[in-house]
Symmetry: C2
């Protein structure tokens, strides 16, 4: 029996970027890591932002939460220091804010391709580590996705059709609400255990261990002889 970890995340969310790295540290040291399946789920921090607008995050945050720009910049530097401590690149002076809906649609496309993790890493790098703004720019998004190995024609087709994977994003967001997740990152293990926040690596190790050890033998609801086994098929 595998254990399945679902991680609700937003590309805008620096704690999601940190949390992913800490979870992966725990996973890489976990004895049964080859039997752990990870799926990334969608959670937009600010779904009301217009899709065509973007701008520097520091003045945006300062204005949105009524703090001064110096405080917003200091907060960004504090998160950057935590990222650097994990070995993650982080430009503390430069990232943008923006609407992430198209990114989440692409993450569901990537899930269908079996390569969701590669795209999420590329999106995080584009937002937190690279100079060019990551939001409100279709060509930039195409470049990020193709840089992560996705087919350009397929990526453009997803981005050109606003319905493509839109319901999958909304479904993830409804599920987050049902689970009581009001912020991200939010980790759910086999639907049974949750961890909220960019917790220390040891917390993720403990959660993986707890979920792994709590995989009960399934209850057999029905069994008859319409099976084939080493001794053939009953007819």
């Amino acid at each position: 029996m595998t254990t399945r970890v679902e991680i609700w995340t937003d590309i805008n969310c620096p704690f999601c970027y940190l949390g992913k790295a800490r979870f992966e540290q725990a996973l890489s040291g976990f004895e049964h890591r080859d039997d752990i399946e990870v799926v990334h789920r969608s959670f937009e921090l600010d779904p009301a932002l217009p899709a065509t607008e973007s701008g520097p995050v520091i003045p945006h945050i300062a204005a949105k939460y009524g703090i001064d720009v110096e405080q917003a910049a200091a907060n960004e530097r504090a998160i950057g220091a935590q990222a650097h401590a994990l070995g993650l690149p982080y430009r503390t002076s430069g990232r943008d804010y923006g609407n992430s809906f198209d990114m989440h649609r692409l993450l569901h496309f990537a899930l269908d391709q079996g390569r969701q993790d590669a795209l999420l890493d590329a999106l995080y790098a584009a937002n937190f580590a690279e100079e060019a703004p990551a939001f409100a720019d279709t060509e930039r998004l195409v470049a990020v996705a193709t840089g992560a190995g996705f087919d350009e024609t397929a990526v453009r087709a997803v981005l050109a059709d606003p319905h493509a994977y839109a319901e999958a994003v909304r479904q993830d967001e409804r599920e987050a609400a049902q689970l009581g997740a009001t912020g991200v990152p939010f980790f759910v293990f086999d639907g049974k255990y949750a961890v909220s926040g960019a917790q220390p690596t040891e917390v993720f190790t403990q959660a993986l261990t707890t979920a792994w050890n709590d995989r009960p033998a399934p209850v057999v609801l029905a069994a008859d002889d319409t099976t084939c086994g080493p001794d053939g098929c009953a007819v």
Copy 2:
């Protein structure tokens, strides 16, 4: 919360072919079908068969189980009649037996591509409905996979490397043994409920309902303020 169904199967197994169709009938009528995830798992009925050998299944079964050829042919017709009742094509006179390990390796490759179901349907059709033998013929397997939309170069690379996805097949088989599955098809719902055999559609509907209704709220193991929400990120 989605519900996850894992189905252990072999391409050699006619009850797996029937069981997949009956499960899919139940799924198509299930209210929450969009939140059900299906994964096919490997189970070889006869792993000791040489990979390079194949032949008509009826005399093979007659010899293997010490029944006469007429009885083996009658059994095959009886299974064919059940398939036809489900609308499934089935050539009762012609399928081959053979080693399915390479097929299972390709099913894991297809899982990584997010298109496992399409390949399994194509493999079942090749074995149960089409005239050309499906086993012990790499070119035939390449044709089946490319016919199902997979990239020929990638398929050939998997088939040429005997280690590719081999451990994933073995892992599925160990897990089946741990679960007590001695025959296939074997269906496991969220790791909690099992159905053995090509059961009637209603049994699968009931199992889906039982598993769906038994998705408890997860226990929160850890939560702190290292999250971002609609009101920003705590720093």
